[in-house]
Structure formats: structure tokens, C-alpha cells
Symmetry: none
Subunit: 414 residues, 2 copies
């Protein structure tokens, strides 16, 4: 199956928007074993969009478009697909009702333009959108499947997962498809992972294995092409065991796992509650933990003590600790963790204090220095990391290190 | 001048790499007043790359390629451009010397494959690369200019700025270049902004004006093509005044401004300190505020009170308020804000409590209900927003609403 992705919107050509949508779809299609041959970006221009669609129609079996489904006059995808595929637009009453209800349920008045979104090429199957008003659609003709998806990323992803993925999966089953699993690794860098797995990488055939650098972590992707899912999963499982034998303690999860979810699950399973004391991360770790639905079962809350005064007053850090050891020190981190644990009344207290940058570095404690403290009734653990020079990246990585510290503590890996 | 960008590399089609290069080039070309009509991504496949190049050659005056200039066998850009434009590859002694020197100066031995990078299509002008070995090149034929740039972003950007930009600037100056400004708007949605600006939009010529949906906000982009920068800025300024006359109170900033930076600047300028009480956002607002370097001047810290127990004990919310009004209520939000202000000792206290979802909604308080409270010595303001169904998006939007509430409070807009 040969696929093309067409991303529609002048904002993409102007560089106002980075084309994350195409990367998401490329990755999803690769997992399904569908080859993407071209990604084209075209502006809100009917003639050029029609040219692009005609070309894709001539050479692909599957076309995915994103964007141009909104209610305004520069949202041209519906009209141009209708023209290109000779399926004139028709109003769909059930979609109109749905759009009206969407606005009514939010007590908002519906601008008349939104009714444009109730028109679809003749024969198209509307695809619904939990996240907003823009409905997408699927159009089928001999040997070709077209999906028109919205351009707003969460809406697009939701629609892909709900409506596009199941359909493609059922088509691809016939041929033998690609199964893959991704191991998520925190700790060693990409080249260290590659070195340690070099023997396995050198002898790979099916499954194949590839390390990829991620956002402050490394992913190892294992890919296997088989007709039979069970056989593929067995082969993948064997490879996973081999990788775990070498770098098992750094593997925190698989596929869509996140450190916050994995660590959250461990807290929940072990009946442990957590309180945070954050300085340089400013609340980021709490925010990441609460990105996980149900996190209230183990996360009680925390104190963001950005100023030293708050470290002293709200967390009970002894002023002399800050004076002698510095606000960024393992001693202060432990005192902050202890304060969070005691004042919130949790099983674990975790603290992060560091120099996020770009200012505030010293020769002894350069930008990127982050101290972590973890306190339970049984133990206290402190550690210092030296991260990079970028403020937001440092915050993210400090969060990774903090979440991984809890994980390793619970799993007795530290 | 009609430009096309061709991004080369199978990793782009697989979604392993996001196409930031194309966004960078799109933005730079837009600034130069050069219209990009298409961005195409194609894999490391000679036939498909040749098709894409032939098509671009037929319809564009300017082609920029990125990627495929490395030393390995799947780096095919040199060969395929040579074939497509009938300019066979030739070895360039001066480039070979440069590559050898690059390795020698770093005390590294040069792999033989790197000599592939000394070959260029006949007539091409090599472009040098401070950041790595991959040299790019420029090829000119009647009415068409082709630049082949490396795929590694810092190398590509460096080469663009050093070699491509000056050349394009000298060409484009003759016609006039594009200046633009973006207004950032929080509050009304995209179609409401479009409706309210409809008269201006209908009569636009130069400058042009276009609303774009962003992440929980709307941007209005004003673009002006002129030979003279001063004249362009005057025309843009006039358009900005017209837009401000209609939706001024919702415009929080321009260009790269963020709500956290704008609100932070207002706090700093007015000598106001802030403390937060976050429930459903779990620390996100504190994290966003501390993304801004120097935020310690106005942000003292906060309390993430995820559990009701913490709302009561750490923020002093009366248990009966939670019982009678609910944890998600304006009364609880105000009590939380008061608790944060008093306990941290700040000028302003801001609280956010809501149902982020996907669970926890009720008929009266569905998922997406968020209550905000803001307390100063002079005033107390509470408000309720009804957001969407997506947890992470709700957290982000609640943060926008909270930051904007502070902004409007300081500016006396509420």
C-alpha cells in the first residue's frame, strides 16, 4: 500500500506552524507497515491543492489530508476534494444537528459559517471529532482511500485513532504487517545505548532494532514483519529479553509509556502517596504527574518554593542549610523533601532544586546543576545531576531524573 | 518569485524526524517576500526524488533542498540533482582539500566515503559549512536557482544565513520585501475574531490580515510588501491600530510573546508578587511562569493542592466551603487564592480548581469546568470557564485563562 500525506494550510508554508501532524501520521503508518512515499504541504489555494490531490490520486492507494476543514472561507479542503473526485458537496443533516448541539452544550451561539462544516463530498463517510467541531471524512473510490482529517493536532490524532487506524488495520491484515515495540530508556545516551547493544544490532535481521534519541531519553525500536501476530510478538519478546539482559534497569517502559505514568502506576500499586517540593522546575513535575488521569490516588500535592523565603517558611528548610550549603545542594534538597513529606503527610517526599539558567550559574554550580532529594520513612537519597544550558530543557530533564528516582527507589534499583 | 522546498530523507516519512527545517526556511523566505508554493518530503529514493525535482523545476523559480548531502550511500542528493539537471558530477579539488583539513584539524582520520562530498554537479558553486563536513551547493540555470543544503538543522541554518540569504536578498530587493507582525489574542475563538474583523478583512490589500488558530489562542497576522521598511512599518502600525480599536482588550502581545512572559512583565513592572494555588493544573501554571528567565523577581511560589485535605490544611480552605459549594467552585477558588496569598505573603494570590477530565464530571460540573480566583488587597475576582474534554488541553487552557486573568486585572480590564 502506497500512501501520501497532504498537509494543507498556508501557515505551514510560511513556517508559522511546524508540521508535527505529518510526523505523527508517518510514524503511525510505518507501524502499520504502510509505506509513505510523499508528504506534500500546500497552502489554502484551490488550484494548487487540486493539482496536488490529482497527482496523489494517480500514484497512491491511500491519501491522508490534514487541515482546511474549519468553518472559515479559507478552509477549502471539502470543496477541492469534492471537485477533484467529482463528488459534489451535499449537506448532511445529522452532522448539522451535531454541530448545533456542540455549540448549544457549551452555551455558545453558533456562527453561521460553522454550517459549512455540515457539507461533505457525495458518498463520503463523515468522521466525528470529540475534540472540536471540525468533522473529517472518508472517501473511497476504486483502489483508493482518502481520509480528510482536521489540522488541529489533538483533533487530528483523536480522529486518526478512532476512525482511521482501525480501518487501515483491517486492510493491512491480509498482507503480513509490521509489528513493533519501542522500549523507553532513561539514563544512558543514544550512543551509549548503541554501543552496549552493538552485538545485537550487528546481527539483526527480523526483528530489526534501532536506537533513537528522544526528549531527554532514548527509545529502542524493535520491528518485526510477519503475517501472524502471535509469531511476531514471540520474536519481539525474545529480542526484548535480550535487550533487557543488557540494559534492563534503564528501561522504564514501552511504547506510549511516559515516566510520569510508569512511576505513577508504581506508586499506586505499592500504595504509596507522594508530595513534591519543587524549586527550579516551578511546578512542572506536579503538572506532569497530574497529566495522568487518576493521579489523585497517589499524588497529594506539593509546594513550589521558588524563593528561599518559601523554602524556609513553607518547607521548614533550616536557613543555615541554605546559607552553608546553598539553595542548590543535596542538603537543601533533602530538607525540602522532608518538609514536603511532613507537612503534606505523604509516604514519600521528593524535592528538586537547581540552576535552570540562563543566569544564576557559578563556577562550582554551573547552569544545569540540579539536586534531587527523596525521603521515605525508611530511607533518604540525594543526588546531583549536571544537565545542559537550556532552561526549558533543563526543567524537563530534571523532571525525568526526579520521576526516575522514584521509580528506581520503588523497584529497589538504587 | 515562486519557491519550492524539497526535504529529503526517509526518516521524515517515517516520522522519526519532524520537519523543522522546512518551517525555518518557510519563515525566512516569507520574510524575504518569496512565496513558497509547495513543500515536498521525499525519501532516500533516487526515482522519486528525481520526479519531485523535475516537477519543481517545471513550476518554480527557486528550489531549496535539505538533506542527502552526507557521505553515505543513501545520501543521493548530489547524484540525483546532477542527473535531473544534466550536469554530471565532477570532483572539486579545493573541496577535497577542505574536507581533509576538517578531519586533520580535529585529529580524526577521514573515512574514505567522505570524499563523495567533494563531487558536485558541473557548474555548481560549492557552499561551505562551518558546522560540519557536508558542503552544499548552488546551481543556476535559465530562470531557476537551486540551493542544496544539508539536513542537520544547525548546519542548514548556518549555510542558509551565510550563503543563501544574501543572494536572495540581492535578488528580492528589487521587488520589495515582506514585513509582518502577529498579534496574539486570548479570549474569543478564531471565527469570532474573523467576524469582528470582517470589515477590515474584506477591504484588505496591502497590508493583508489573516486570523489563525493557535494553542488555545488566536493569532492575527498582518503582512505588508514594500521596498521601504519604514513605510511598511507605518502601514502595519496603522492596521494594528485598527485591529486594536475593535478587539484591543483581547490582544495580549505580539510576535513571539507568550501569556506567561507578558503577564510576568506586567507583574514585574508593577512591583507585584504572585503566589499560586493550583489544583487541576497540578503545577502547570507555576511551570509556565518559571519558563520565563528572571521570574523569581515576581513569582514567589505556590501550593499544589491536589487533594481536598491539602486544600484545607495547606491553604486553609474552610471544609464547609468544599462541602457546600464543592471543590470546583468559585468560593473554593477564592478561598484557595486567599490561602496562597496569606501563607506565602504575596501581593496577589491566584487559584485554579477544575475538572480536567476524563473522569470526575457531573451534570452540573461537566469535564472542562474550571474555576479561577484572584485575590489582592483591593479586590477579589472569581470566574468559571467551560473548556473541552481533553485533560492536557484543559490544563493548558485553564493556565491561559489564569494568566490572562492576572493580565486583565493589572490592566484594569476586568
Amino acid at each position: 500500500m502506497r500512501a501520501e500525506i497532504i498537509s494543507i494550510g498556508t501557515e505551514l508554508l510560511l513556517g508559522d506552524v511546524v508540521n508535527y501532524n505529518a510526523a505523527f501520521l508517518g510514524e503511525e503508518l510505518a507501524r502499520l507497515g504502510i509505506d509513505v512515499y510523499f508528504i506534500s504541504c500546500v497552502g489554502d489555494n484551490p488550484g494548487r491543492l487540486e493539482d496536488t490531490l490529482r497527482q496523489a490520486r494517480a500514484r497512491a492507494d491511500l491519501i491522508l489530508t490534514t487541515g482546511g476543514l474549519g468553518p472559515t472561507s479559507d478552509d477549502i479542503t471539502r470543496e477541492v476534494i469534492a471537485r477533484t473526485f467529482n463528488c459534489p458537496l451535499e449537506r448532511r443533516g445529522e452532522v448539522e444537528t451535531m454541530i448545533r448541539e456542540f455549540f448549544a452544550s457549551r452555551n455558545r451561539s453558533m456562527p453561521e459559517e460553522n454550517l459549512r462544516q455540515a457539507f461533505f463530498p457525495r458518498g463520503a463517510v463523515p468522521l466525528y471529532n470529540n475534540e472540536g467541531t471540525a468533522p473529517g471524512f472518508m472517501l473511497e473510490e476504486e483502489g483508493l482511500l482518502v481520509f480528510a482529517l482536521p489540522g488541529v493536532p489533538p483533533e487530528m490524532k483523536n480522529m486518526f485513532k478512532k476512525s482511521v487506524y482501525p480501518r487501515l488495520l483491517s486492510l493491512e491484515r491480509r498482507e503480513g504487517i509490521i509489528f513493533s515495540r519501542t522500549l523507553r530508556i532513561f539514563g544512558p545516551g543514544e550512543s551509549e545505548v548503541e554501543n552496549r547493544l552493538s552485538r545485537i544490532i550487528a546481527s539483526q535481521t527480523n526483528p530489526t532494532i534501532a536506537p533513537l534519541a528522544g526528549k531527554g531519553e532514548v527509545r529502542v525500536r524493535i520491528t518485526c514483519k510477519e503475517k501472524d501476530e502471535k509469531k511476531a510478538q514471540e520474536k519481539i519478546e525474545e529480542m526484548v529479553r535480550a535487550v533487557k539482559g543488557i540494559i534492563g534497569e534503564y528501561i522504564y517502559g514501552e511504547d506510549d509509556d511516559t515516566l510520569e505514568r510508569v512511576t505513577g502506576n508504581l506508586l499506586e500499586k505499592n500504595g504509596l502517596s507522594l508530595a513534591l517540593a519543587e524549586s527550579c522546575t516551578g511546578g512542572l513535575v506536579g503538572s506532569r504527574i497530574t497529566d495522568v488521569p487518576g493521579s489523585s490516588k497517589y499524588f497529594l500535592g506539593g509546594i513550589v518554593a521558588y524563593s528561599n523565603k518559601m523554602k524556609i517558611e513553607s518547607l521548614g528548610v533550616p536557613p543555615e542549610t541554605i546559607e552553608k550549603e546553598g539553595a542548590v545542594s543535596e542538603a537543601t534538597a533533602l530538607a525540602m523533601a522532608r518538609g514536603a513529606k511532613t507537612r503534606v503527610g505523604s509516604d514519600l517526599g521528593l524535592a528538586i532544586t537547581g540552576v535552570a539558567g540562563p543566569e544564576g550559574g557559578t563556577p562550582e554550580k554551573p547552569v544545569g546543576t540540579v539536586c534531587l532529594g527523596l525521603i521515605s520513612d525508611q530511607r533518604e537519597i540525594a543526588m546531583t545531576c549536571l544537565l545542559g544550558s537550556q532552561r526549558e530543557q533543563n526543567k524537563w530533564r530534571a523532571g525525568n531524573a526526579a520521576l526516575d528516582l522514584i521509580r528506581r527507589y520503588i523497584l529497589d534499583l538504587i
